[in-house]
Amino acid sequence: MAAEGLQDLADKAAAEAAGAKPADRGAAEAAPGVGRHEVEAVNKAEARPLYASRPSIHPKRATGIFRNVKWVVMAVTLGIYYLLPWVRWDRGPNAPDQAVLLDFPNRKFYFFFIEIWPQEVYYITGLLILAALALFLVTSIAGRVWCGYTCPQTVWTDLMIAIERFVEGDRNARIRLDKQRWNGEKILKRSLKHFLWLMVGVVTGGAFVFYFRDAPTLAMEFLTLDAPFIAWLFVGIFAATTYLLGGLAREQVCTYMCPWPRIQGAMFDEHSLLVSYRAWRGEPRGPHRKGEPWEGRGDCIDCKQCVVVCPAGIDIRDGAQLECIQCALCIDACNEIMDRIGRPRNLIAYDTHAGLATGKATRLSQVPYVRARTVVYAAAIAVVAVIMAFTLATRDTMSLNVLRERNPLFVTLSDGSIRNTYTLKIINKLHRPAEFRVSVSGVEGATIALGGHEGDTLTVPADDLLDARLFVAAPNPGREVSDLEVRLEEIGGERSATYETTFRGPER
């Protein structure tokens, strides 16, 4: 309590420094333990200029359940991001043992037990589609929860603000520092803050490149300064963008650069849970003196705690807004106030448009979660997921591609027969070499020969691709185009593949 009292004193001092009128101070004294802030929402509808430079926003520390959720999400997501490259996964002797590795030089992606070849990038596409649909679904249920809790921009911005608070103090201290002349203290604090921000950037970029190369090897190379230039470059790029976007641009990214706020409106409806100010309960708002009756007035004491904690700098009491990332910190802030003034919690809460219109508090269990929109999104997710799982489970460990020579389409041999030439591309995805027998069918009397290889067998090295020329000769079929099937069978194995192509001859 003592600490909070001090905090309030500091708040008051800051309010005074910020030019607050004494009348406001009076109101602040009225409700003990409640600090009042003289602050304007960044996007107040009455005074929205056409062009303005960014007002600095100094979000105040919030405490409460949503803040705690955000800390946990931050720890988990950053933990995953920084640690994942170090997880090992044994794939046998011929393959890398990094659980998640985007191996561009060898053109292969590894995700735990899944190994994706360049021909299979559609799995990645599928994953992205799945992610997009999941985002649609949660958005239709609970608004911008992605933005508020898990978006990398939010997570890193949150981290940057935490560092700023650690170095420069909370909101009022920061405002004071902003106004202060450049002296030793300010220089020290500012440079320390920017240094730490840059460090976060460097570590972020550092973790990023580990996804593209064996992490322990690359780490050693960084230490001995042997890392490839491209690695340094990407560390640099990511350090710079993290510093710039998370440290400096912050909510500007969400408001001006991110397309999501523009699209997501299409996913909301009147039953979507959004961070909302329950105006029916809060209005008319106004300062409240201790002991005054609560009848005939709203519960909102206009203390603007909800505005000062907002990382987007807006006033949720103006209704749903583009800038609001739905981080719910204003809920935490207002609940604390409600506790202090002895009013029920959740003046700001997750609520639906339909619920707000009823003038009663909607309980989470009352929201109709199953409705056309959510059902459609869920069904789409299920369909894509099933298709993905099925194709992933049944995909081949080998593949055959046949490209026919088109210049010339065919040649006449000395005995009058016709020969077509093809290039076979065979992929062996197993970590051992495999021998295949080539055969063709569909054209009568067809005989085959392989360029550069004896007989009709080919050996494809472990985890590799082989290309070979296939000559198919047949007596003149008297037809311009016949169907030809090229077949590949593993010798001493179960695998086989076929490829439909054409055999061309002269027109007759």
Binding site: P49, L50, Y51, S53, E405, R406, N407, P408, V411, T412, L413, S414, D415, G416, R419, T421, A449, G451, G452, R469, F471
Partner: protein, 289 residues
């Protein structure tokens, strides 16, 4: 003509006085960051003029203090690429043709190099896909006038055919009509006989008469049964492949005027390594011999 600046009611910003359909342009200042980027590009461009070639002069251009030249860069890159290939080229030089074909890496390198040089040097006559043209052999089929083994192809590439090279492969078919060795009728008969070798005769009687003429005049080079002779580059007349066309008129023309295609010798024009790569490439085009 100085006139009072107008102010916009809503924003309080000055207007520029420009008006379109009742809409007035506000004189909003450019964002600072934008201006700074603009100034930076100006500074950058001045630096660029100094450092790089930039301004055209009457007969020349400003060279820039770095002496940069795109042409030299390309040359450098070509040198670098050559250096990168040096190891392979070295191995190609040392290896025999059979060794190259037997080694997967060398074979791939030779195929790639061969494909490129074929396009540069050979495609003009033999076609991009080596499909040939009348008078220019198809290299993708199984008929080889001078032999289709690796060594045969290599020799043909090196010394050429009737190329004037001292070791060139040369053979000459007499112009039986022009030199009046055979009469018109005899030529007609022998042409029918040649057609009959591949089962295409139209006049059985003439063909039979032509058999003796063939034995006396043609069999020495083309073989008794017209099966050809690679040592002399004499074509097989009994197969389905006709370098100059298999119609009777084509054959009569050939016998009357003779034919003698020329292929240049490539030694001295192409490096020995390139010729080896070309050999491997051509050999694999048609499956070789």
């Amino acid at each position: 003509m100085a006139h009072e600046r107008e102010r916009d009611h809503v924003t309080g910003t000055e207007t520029t006085g420009h008006e379109w359909d009742g809409l007035k342009e506000l004189n909003t200042p450019l964002p600072k960051w934008w201006l700074y980027v603009f100034y930076a590009t100006i500074v950058w461009s001045i630096g660029y003029w100094i450092v790089y070639p930039a301004w055209p002069l009457a007969a020349d251009y400003t060279r820039g203090i770095w002496g940069y030249s795109q042409r030299e860069r390309v040359m450098e890159q070509v040198e670098q690429a050559k250096a990168a290939q040096a190891g392979f080229v070295e191995r190609i030089r040392e290896a025999s043709l059979q060794e190259i074909v037997g080694d997967e890496d060398l074979r791939r390198f030779a195929m790639a190099g061969g494909r490129a040089s074929f396009g540069d040097n050979c495609a003009g006559c033999h076609g991009a896909g080596a499909e040939g043209a009348p008078g220019y052999p198809n290299l993708a089929d199984d008929a080889w006038l001078w032999g289709g083994t690796l060594d045969d192809i290599h020799t043909t590439l090196e010394v050429g055919i009737r190329s004037g090279h001292p070791d060139a492969r040369v053979s000459e078919m007499p112009a039986f009509g022009v030199d009046q060795i055979l009469s018109r009728e005899e030529i007609d008969q022998v042409a029918e006989y040649v057609l009959s070798l591949s089962g295409n005769a139209t006049n059985q009687q003439a063909a039979e008469a032509g058999a003796t003429i063939f034995a006396d005049n043609c069999a020495a080079c083309h073989g008794e049964n017209g099966e050809g002779m690679t040592a002399l580059g004499a074509p097989n007349l009994s197969d389905a492949i006709w370098l100059y066309g298999g119609q009777k008129a084509d054959i009569v023309h050939t016998v009357t005027h003779s034919r003698a295609g020329v292929m240049p010798a490539w030694s001295g024009r192409l490096s020995p390594e390139t010729i080896k790569q070309l050999t491997v490439y051509v050999h694999e085009l048609g499956g070789g011999q």
